[in-house]
Structures are given as C-alpha cells and as structure tokens.
Amino acid sequence: MEADVTVIGSGPAGLTAALHADKNGAKNVLLLEREEELGGILKQCIHNGFGLEQFKEDYTGPEYAERLIGETEKTNVRCFLNTMVTGVVPDRTITAVNPEKGVFQIESKSVVLAMGCRERARGSINIPGTRPAGVYTAGVAQRFVNIDGYLPGKEIVILGSGDIGLIMARRLTLEGAQVKGVYEIMDYPGGLKRNIVQCLNDFNIPLYLSRTVTEIRGKERVEGVVVSRVDDTMQTIGGSEEFISCDTLLLSVGLIPENELSIGAGVKLSPTTKGPITTETMETSVPGIFCCGNVSTVFDLVDYVAQTGISAGRNAARFSAGALEKDRKTVEVVPGENVRMLFPQRYCFEDNLILFIRSAEPIERAVRIEISPLGLRMKRPYARPNEMIRVKVPREKLKDVTGPIEVNIRES
C-alpha cells in the first residue's frame, strides 16, 4: 500500500494532523488507530475545558473528539481502526497488523507520529510494600468509571496532584466514593490552579504538599497506605509516617511520551522531554518523519496539542509534495536560566518559532522571557513549572540567526 501522509494514532494530535495534511493538499492520507474507534484518550476525558482556544467553545473531551471526527469524515482521509503499527523504518515504510488485512506494509512519503503518552505507574516510582489489588493509575480509574461503569473503590487516596488525579478526585466523589486526600511530593501542586479550585476545594478534598506514599499495606486488597513528609531534597523525614486507611490508591505521578516506534525509526530523542528532537515544522531527526502532541512532549492543554498537529499535518503534506527540502540549515534552541523544559529543540527557518517553556522553579512575580541573541523580551505575570509558557517568535525576526537560540526566564 502507498500513501502520501500516514498518521499513527487518532487522538487530538493525530486527528488534527490528518485533517491538516488533507487541507494542505496531500491526496492520500491514512490515519491508523489501534483501538476500535477514533479519538484516543478524549473519549474518557468527559470533563469540560477542551477547545477554548481552538474552537472558542468549552467542550468536553468526547464533544471535542466528535467535532474533529466529524471534520475528518468530510475529507478524503482514510481511517484504519483496530490497526496496530508494529514498526516504522527510516525510509518511512510502516508495518501494521489488523484483523482484515493481517500483517501489511505502507510505503508513505511522510509519516506523522501521534502515539501520545502513557502514565507512570507504581514501578516508575518504586513504592515499597505488598502488592494487593486496588492500586491504579488515575487514567485507568478514569476509564473504569467513565466508559465501563465500574467504581474502583470506596475510600480513595490519590498520590500526585497532576490534572488527571485532580479530575478523578472530583469524579469519584460525585460517584459516591470518599477521597481522603491528594498527596504531592513537591511543595507546589502539579495540576492547573483552576482544577485545584473546582475539583478539590469545591468538594472539601484536602491537598497535602511535600508528602509521599512510602508504603502500601494489604494482602488481597489495599487496606491503607503510609504517608511521609519529605524535606527540600525530597528525602523522606523519619518519624513523620502516618497511616491512612483506604481501599484504593490512585497514582497521578506523571506521563511519559510513548516512543517505541520512534526509536525503531531511528528518531533521536531528547533526554528532557523524552520525545523526538524536533524543529518548528515538527520534523524529527529523520527527514519526512514528523511528530505532534504528547508523543513530542507532554503538553498541558489540548489546544497546544492541536497547534502541533496543525503544523505536523501541514509540513508532512509539504514534504510529501517535495516542497520541504531534505537538508536544511538548522540551529539549536537551548534552555538558559530557570528553564527546565523547552520545545522544540531546533529551528530550521521555515515557520514562526512557537516555543513551549517550563520554568525550573515557581516565580510568583512578573517575569521576562528573554531570547538571545535576538534581544527579544516578553513579559509574563508569573512562571510556574506546572503551567507551560507559550511564546511566539516571528520568522522574520529569526532570519539572521546563525548560532544557538537561548531562552531564559528572568525576574523583571
């Protein structure tokens, strides 16, 4: 089988990329999805707050997915469901398997990686104790409640204050469970402030900072967890242990981009984002292989995911038409002062540079985003590690740059 653009994954990133590859003239666009329907994780994110920027609407996840699916159905994009991609090679041959075709290959002029991310689980954070039933990631609990109709437990402790954990605290409370508290190892919350207010404060669910779960107890089923305080260096403080009785522990302890296929395709990954090293065109280190959404770096908002999908789809279409040269000059984009994470990592002089930045430390005062050697300064009212900062640098300001572009966050 041959294709101009093949998109792997049909969550918000993949759907948007496929739509925009089609819009930008790619004739033969394929969208491959391993599940039995399109939409990815949006289907279980039944809360609202999606698409405020992109569609100026306050959609729920399923509504947002329906809108993108509806738009896709009006195009010539061909969707393959129940289709698992098992390999991608650098010359952009894709191997996939599904019940109708068995194992088959697609030779695609360009490829968009949109596999999303997965949750860190108990094994990633090494919680000691027994191995009873009742330990779930927040996303698994979300699927049980919102799609399958099962309540994972009655008395719940949540470790980690990421957005999914906060949203599940509210969801489980509404469904009749008692959420005893959300415990966060850092001294600031992981999720957005609005979620702290609407998901925890509205329901009197306590948030405990600088604490972590140091033991899980229970034989067949979770009977409780031991929670300890941590110091500035995140070491547990002896003598601070407290037993909390519960039947369920939910983990909301971070997401990791899912890049097994990218590695197989020879795509270079960034140790900071755990996603492909990418230019502003969303092209990876392998020419003609693009990426978008949470496979590239874990974004805070679906609007950001969609923005990378638009860029990946458009540029994958350009590449497939021969409109994007294979060997282009690029410069590095490097993190400077108080920058923990920076995306993309390279600039290739094709588009505006839209930077996604996470600060290393929270600063609750006015800050400047300083971009050297351009001497550009952008003001922001604050910098918080849990809220990505997005900055647009117009292409015309970058045309004379020869060396690395450095991004700093400094107090005003």
């Binding site: 039944i46 729920t60 399923p62 329906e66 399958d148 109709g149 207010v197 404060n201």
Partner: protein, 129 residues
C-alpha cells in the same frame, strides 16, 4: 455593622487570580487581586451562588460501551450537583444516541438540560446493527 473578609481563586482563565474581598453586611466594599473584570463578575457570582457545569455519565444499553457521557448544557448551582447526580442514577438510555441529544430537560428544576456528549451507535454483540 458586620465586617467580613473572603478569599477566592478565580477559575475563569489559567492565571488564577487570588482575590481578597471585604464585605460589610454582605455588601462588597473592596476587592483586591483581580486582573480583569471577568474575575470581578466571577467573585460576585461566587458570593451570590457558585455555578458549575456538571459532567458525568448515565447507563446505556445496546451500545459498544456501558456508559454514555453527559453534561449540563449550562452551569447549575453548585449546591445541586449531588441532587442532579442522584436523579441521573436510575436513568438508562437505549442506543442510538447522538451528541447534543437531550437526555433530561430542566434537570432538578435548574432550567439546564442534561445532554449527551458523544454519538453512540446501536450495536449487537460488538457489531453495528
């Protein structure tokens, strides 16, 4: 005169302004910390009656999945969230359902409708009918 101070975190946008309000006999005499007029409106509404969108699920038969996601089509008083959840506990829908279909009109006397937030086709044994 009864003086009172209250604190709010605005949820209108991601900035999340921390707002301090001084009240005298229940009337606002000063407000500090809000960066825009929208958060002023938010605080006044919070003082009067906090309003929230409710998103939840109802059971559905004859579809691929057990649960159909639903929402209120406008914000409802926060104090009625659990009442609405209770009213939805015994609802069982039958596929097919289309996104935006009204599941229950004027839920719990709020004036808001409960609407479906996705399409669900009719299926039998995992196959479309």
């Amino acid at each position: 005169m009864a003086r009172e101070s209250k604190h709010f975190t605005c949820v209108i946008c991601p900035i999340g302004c921390e707002i301090d309000v001084q009240l005298e006999d229940g009337n606002v005499v000063s407000m500090e910390g809000n960066k825009c007029e929208k958060s002023e409106e938010f605080v006044l509404q919070e003082l009067k009656e906090p309003m929230r969108i409710l998103t939840t699920t109802v059971r559905i038969k004859g579809a691929k999945w057990a649960m159909l996601p639903v929402r209120t089509d406008e914000p409802i008083p926060r104090r009625l969230l659990f009442k609405v959840i209770e009213e939805l506990a015994n609802i069982e829908m039958q596929a097919p359902v289309k996104v935006s279909d009204v599941i229950i009109g004027d839920i719990a006397g709020t004036g808001a409708n409960i609407v479906a937030t996705r399409n669900m086709k009719r299926e039998r044994k995992g196959k479309p009918v």
